[in-house]
Symmetry: C2
């Protein structure tokens, strides 16, 4: 044993990815007689469900990101490594990092999450940034605020296209982005300009299918559509995207001139399958057994957005933070029991804590399966839940204060452009 | 008159730069029968005196930056333009922006501030980032936190150089940076790592002259040196810098291996002189008359760091926020009086409100000329003054809360690396 009480002979659990799944796994193994190494590309855990608020200048990056070492540093048996995994050798049971370091493991947990996907049209990425990382959120913020700045210039050509914001994708991400851009334009920026009136900006939400929020019941989706309309967001359904350029977007055979297009449409799991040398399912995810171990491998687990985990009814679980967190809690407890000689765990079972989407101030929808909520009560519940979920106390105070402030004033505290503004490449 | 009550025939004041000087000028002209246009490269006013706290992960960029439109948007007679000045024609009385827009002025106010200067050694810039902009502060944050991350890697070569932080320049900026890096290493990061002990990091403050804080009285500088020593900062004087490379720094004939070198040494005014076509003084600043108008020109004013303004005793005023702000207040009032038919103003007179430097938690120095303060009372006063000075109320709450929180916990809320970490180019 070392001075810190950590025995180098304890079994070693390597966790790749410190998102909701990886972090929960590590926390459940804290202070157990197990060595844990958490590897992540970034030095922070990102609270992705609030990232759209960074993109629309309501919160700062530090409000939704928590240093991983800050969360896990207090546990002597957990080590954090900033790095990327280059290779996994499941026979030799080792992980090679891009820096050259090699980690031998007894159990490997892969929870690398998902990234934005352009359905095979990667050329759209430069014109239509997505909102899955802080860098992307910064690009969106810079494009949106920059478009108003460009439109304000004397003699700005193309003022209408500059004042048109198209959000692609009628899922929760697209709805949240559209609602938040609308609030920015209609409330936060109203007195800021002289040549333009931001509140006249066109905000259009484009959905390829026949209705938005397809994962929610009809009644809630209908409410959301009405709430978006009240905010001045135009919802256009049955409009599959055909092209995106610097000039605008073509969908359903129709061209919409717009200098700012945001992508809230698709996500795809990161390349966990190829890293592990297994064949992914049609959606790119890795098949797992009921205990979340990867099919065809021993001592390797996959959770969160990279895992194709079936619900009791045989349907795959959606890529939600609550699914990832519950899987991490489950696996952490299971590994703790197993590696310290405890009982084998029961299969993982997901408990739906409610699926939410926020349209704007005072307007949200919440689906708990058995019952539903909408409007102000749903918004209040959503706000409370998200504040409580935020990892640390300091953030909880700061974010609630920001919310309170915005609630009272409609202002946006983080409205600075620090990513040099560049219009979409033309 | 237009619907907003602004008459296009009112005289037009163009203000270039929305730092302390430019912003104060504009605010004094608010709601006067004068048209004001404020031009800045950035969409935010930057509270530079707190920027070192962004660089050392204590505050977020949005905590020290305020959207200019947010401050000035409420005044219908003030227009804000995001852009860079390409050319000034003082005969035709017009300013050409890089975007092609041309502004005709009746009065021109140039307050473009200063940037970091490497005393003719621009090749040092890439190895030793300065702290004058948000981008630079982000680079410093990423380098400092990244150096600890690199040192933590298994088999990190060069661990000692990675754990050595050299700050160049014994003025307030260098002292504040050194104190803040020391507090980060000694308090905020202590339990974060497994292979290194951040509290053993070497933090060295290098000064070319014979003592630090040369603008302060001896007794205060001596106190500051003792306070730095208590924080574990090694102060080395009589060490003019001779070379900076990726491996370290050579000063006073001595090589110090260090992977992180920060520049707090020199500033130089931006190129206001060449823009205006006047001959600058030896320090690069523009000579002004007692009413802050530029010598040799009509209807053109220079303030803040670009102006060589003489005090009553014939000495040039230092490049401080309080000088800039007082000049802006003075000129705004003077122009308001002049352009609305009032009395000609008395010459500008600087009122010293105290010169401060902060060494760390509970340790600061304050020089008011007639009397002096140091230690805890000075720190408290500094904190109150800076919180009050911050432009807007929301920031005031947020920053004080952050301070309270750090005060209670020694934590740093903004400890995330979002500028991709790159070691100094080698």
């Amino acid at each position: 044993m070392t001075a810190t009480g950590v025995d180098p002979n304890w079994p070693h659990v390597v966790i790749v990815g410190a998102g909701f799944a990886g972090l929960a796994t590590a926390q459940r193994l804290a202070r157990a007689p197990v060595r844990v190494t958490v590897v992540d590309r970034n030095n922070y855990h990102l609270f992705v469900p609030l990232l759209y608020q960074v993109a629309t200048a309501a919160l700062s990056p530090a409000d939704v990101a928590e240093p991983i070492r800050h969360v896990l540093g207090r546990y002597p048996n957990i080590r954090v490594v900033l790095g990327e995994v280059a290779q996994v050798d499941t026979d030799a049971r080792q992980v090679a990092l891009a820096t050259g370091e090699t980690l031998r493991y007894d159990r490997l947990v892969v929870a690398t999450g998902s990234t934005s996907s352009y359905f095979g049209h990667d050329e759209w990425r430069r014109y239509a940034p997505a909102c899955k990382s802080i860098e992307e959120a910064r690009v969106i913020r810079s494009r949106v605020l920059g478009a108003f700045e460009e439109a304000e210039r004397d003699g700005a050509a193309d003022r209408e296209a500059l004042m048109t914001f198209v959000i692609v994708g009628g899922g929760p991400t697209g709805v949240e982005l559209a609602g938040s851009v609308a609030e920015l334009a209609r409330y936060a920026l109203t007195s800021d300009f002289r040549r333009i009136r931001p509140e006249t900006a066109k905000i259009i939400l484009i959905e390829g299918g026949s209705r938005i929020l397809s994962a929610f019941p009809d009644s809630l989706a209908t409410y959301a559509e009405r709430a978006l309309a009240r905010l001045g967001v135009q919802v256009m359904t049955d409009m599959p995207v055909e092209a995106i350029t610097a000039e605008g977007l073509t969908a359903g055979g129709r061209f919409i001139p717009a200098r700012t297009v945001l992508w809230g449409a698709g996500v795809a799991p990161t390349g966990a399958a190829s890293l592990l040398g297994v064949v992914p399912g049609p959606d790119g995810r890795v098949a797992v057994r009921p205990d979340l171990s990867v099919e065809g491998l021993e001592n390797v687990y996959a959770l969160g957005d990279v895992a194709a985990c079936l619900n009791e009814d045989g349907k795959p679980l959606p890529g939600l933070a609550q699914v990832a967190q519950q899987q991490g809690d489950y696996l952490g407890k299971a590994l703790r029991a197993e590696l310290t000689g405890g009982a084998a765990p029961k299969p993982f079972r997901f408990h739906n804590r409610g699926n939410a989407a926020i349209i704007g101030r005072h307007a949200a929808i919440f689906d708990f399966g058995r019952f539903r909520m909408k409007g102000y009560p749903a918004w209040m519940l959503w706000a409370i839940v998200h504040v409580v979920l935020l990892v640390n106390f300091a953030q909880r105070i700061r974010v609630s204060l920001q919310w309170l402030w915005r609630y009272l004033t409609y202002r946006r505290g983080a409205r600075i452009i620090t990513t040099p503004y560049s219009p979409p490449p033309g």
